[in-house]
Amino acid sequence: MKKLELMPLEETVKWAKHNSWYVADLLARRGTEGENPLIPRAEYEMLSFQTTFLQHPWLYMWLGEKVGMEGIRATCSSGHREFGIKTITPCNIQWGAGIALFGRLFLIDGGLIGPNDYIDNLRIIYSFWKTVFEGYMRQGKPAVMDVGYVLQILDQDVVEELVEDVEPLDDPNVRETVGRFNSLIQLMGFLDHYDCRLGLGDTGPYEVGDKLVLVRDCFVNEKSFPWTFVVGDLPFSYSLVLTYDKKKMMRDRKSGHLKMFSIYNTGTLFCDPPDYEDQALLDVAVYMRDEDYPNGKTTRIPLDEVEFHIEKVEAAVERMYSYLAMKPWFDKILEGNWVYVAASLPYVRAHDLEAEAASMGFWDMDLRSMEYLLKGYTKAGEVQRNAMAGLGAPPPQMPGFRCRGTKFGKYEVV
C-alpha cells in the first residue's frame, strides 16, 4: 500500500532544532521590512498557522496514500523543467508544511499547548516536508541555509537555454522600465497573497559561464482566491530571468564590498549592500504564464512590450488596494487564513489532485483553530514576535532526557 512513511518520534528533535535555526535566520531579515496597515497579518497568521497545523497532517497522509513516497519526492519535478508555476517556488514548497509547524510555535508561545501535544501532527508534518525536499533542490537538502543560500531548482540545461534569450540592459531607459516592472510585479504578487511571500520567489543563483542567473516568479493572480475577480485581467504569473556579472561579484566578495548575496527559504534575495543586485545586473528576459501547473503555458514578453504590462499591473494594484481598504477587518483575517492554507496547493496541483483535495476538505476549517484564535487573539502580536524568532520550537519531551518540567512542558487550555 502506498503511504507516507513516518520518521521515529526522536527524529523530530533534529528537525525541530533545524526549524528553530532557519526560522530565526529568515525572519530576523523579514523584521527589517515595513508592515501594511490594511492587513491584519499577525491575526491571520495566528489563525492560519493553527488551521494548517491541525488539518494538513491529514492532507499529507491522504497524499501519501494517493502517490506514495516516490510521488511525494516527485512533487516538484515540474519545477525542475518549468518556471512561473508554484511547484518551483521555495516559499510555497517550504512553507506549505512550514506554516503548519508555525502553528505549533504559536500555540506553545501562546501558552495554549505544550511541546508534547499533537505530537503525531508534528511527526507527519516533518516526515512529509522532509520527503518533498528530498526531490526539490538539486542537492536534495531540506533548507537553503544548508547549501549556503543558493537555491538551484531548474535543471542546468533549462537555465542554459533561458540565458540564450536574455536581452542586455545597456540602455538606461530600458533598464528603468524593467526596474519599474520588477518592483510592480513583486508588489502585486505580495498584495494578491495578502502581503506575504507566497506570491513571489527567486530561485538561483545558477551558474552559466561568467554569469550568475536568478529566475524570479511573481504570482500576480492566484485563481483559487475569490479576489481573482479584482485582478482578473492579469496572467497567473510574470517571471524575470536575470543575469549578473559573476566576475564582478567575485571581486566584490574578495574585497569585502559584497558581504552577502543570499536566497532564503522564502525565495527572497537579501544582499549586503542592500542595493547590490542592480550593481551587478546585466541582462533580462520577461515571461508570463496564464495558468498554474498542470495547466497553462509560458509566453515570452519582448522588452518593448513591457510598458503595456506595467499599465495593467498598476491598475490592478490600485483596484486591490481599494478592495483591501473596503474589506472589514475580520473578513481579512479569514481571507489571509485561506492564503496560507493555499500554500499547500502546489502539493496537490503537482499530482493534478486539486479538485479532489477540495472535495476532501482542503478549504474547510477545523473549529479548534477558531477556538485557539479567540483564546490567543489579544496576544497575537507578542506571540508572532517570539514564534518568528524560532522561539517556541522546543523538543518534545522524551524518556531518558532531562525535561523542562510541568511549567514549560505542559500547558492547560483555559
Binding site: 530565526a24 535566520d25 530576523a28 537538502k141 547549501v147 549556503g148 566578495r253 552577502m260
Partner: protein, 152 residues
C-alpha cells in the same frame, strides 16, 4: 585529556544523528565544559542573519544519575535580534572567529544545568550535518573559501 572517539554507524544511539562521540571526560564547572566544547566542535551552522549555532545531545553522569540533555551554543546573538546600528557593523565573516557561548538561562534547547556540575560527559551527539555550500566563494569568508588567494 583524551580526545573523543567517533562512533561507528552501528554503535550510534540514533541512526538519524549526524555524528556521535564517546567521550568519558570529567568536568568540574560549566566554564570548563564550555572551553572543551569550543576546542572540540568542528563546525557551526552559519546563519547570515547574525549567528553561528550548534546544538548537541549530551549523555551525562551526575550525582548518581545518568541522563540525556540538550546543549545549545552560539557565536553572535540567538535569536538574532540586532538593532539597526548593531546590524550595520555586524560582519558575519568575522563573527566565526569569536568564542561560542552556551545559552544557559531558561532556554528551551539547553536542558543541562549549571548545578549538574561536577559531572562526567559520556557521549556527545551532533544532530545535524555541516552545511555544504553550492558556491563556497559566495557563502564563506574569502579566507575559508580560498577566494582570497584566487586570481579573478
Amino acid at each position: 585529556m583524551p580526545g573523543p572517539r567517533v562512533k561507528q554507524e552501528t554503535e550510534k544511539r540514533y541512526n538519524w544523528s549526524h555524528e556521535e562521540w564517546e567521550v568519558g571526560v570529567d568536568f568540574k564547572s560549566a566554564d570548563e565544559f564550555e572551553d572543551w566544547l569550543n576546542k572540540e566542535t568542528k563546525y557551526y551552522i552559519r546563519a547570515n542573519a547574525g549567528f553561528y549555532g550548534q546544538c548537541v545531545v549530551v549523555c551525562i553522569e551526575s550525582k548518581g544519575d545518568e541522563f540525556l540533555a540538550y546543549v545549545d551554543y552560539y557565536k553572535g546573538k540567538f535569536p538574532p535580534w540586532y538593532g539597526a546600528e548593531e546590524l550595520a557593523v555586524l560582519d558575519i565573516d568575522e563573527l566565526r572567529n569569536e568564542r561560542a557561548e552556551i545559552k544557559w538561562d531558561d532556554w528551551e534547547w539547553t536542558t543541562l544545568r549549571k548545578d549538574d556540575f561536577p559531572l562526567r560527559l559520556k557521549e556527545v551527539i551532533f544532530l545535524y550535518p555541516p552545511q555544504e555550500p553550492a558556491m563556497p566563494w559566495l557563502f564563506l569568508s574569502p579566507e575559508e573559501s580560498g577566494l582570497a588567494q584566487m586570481e579573478i
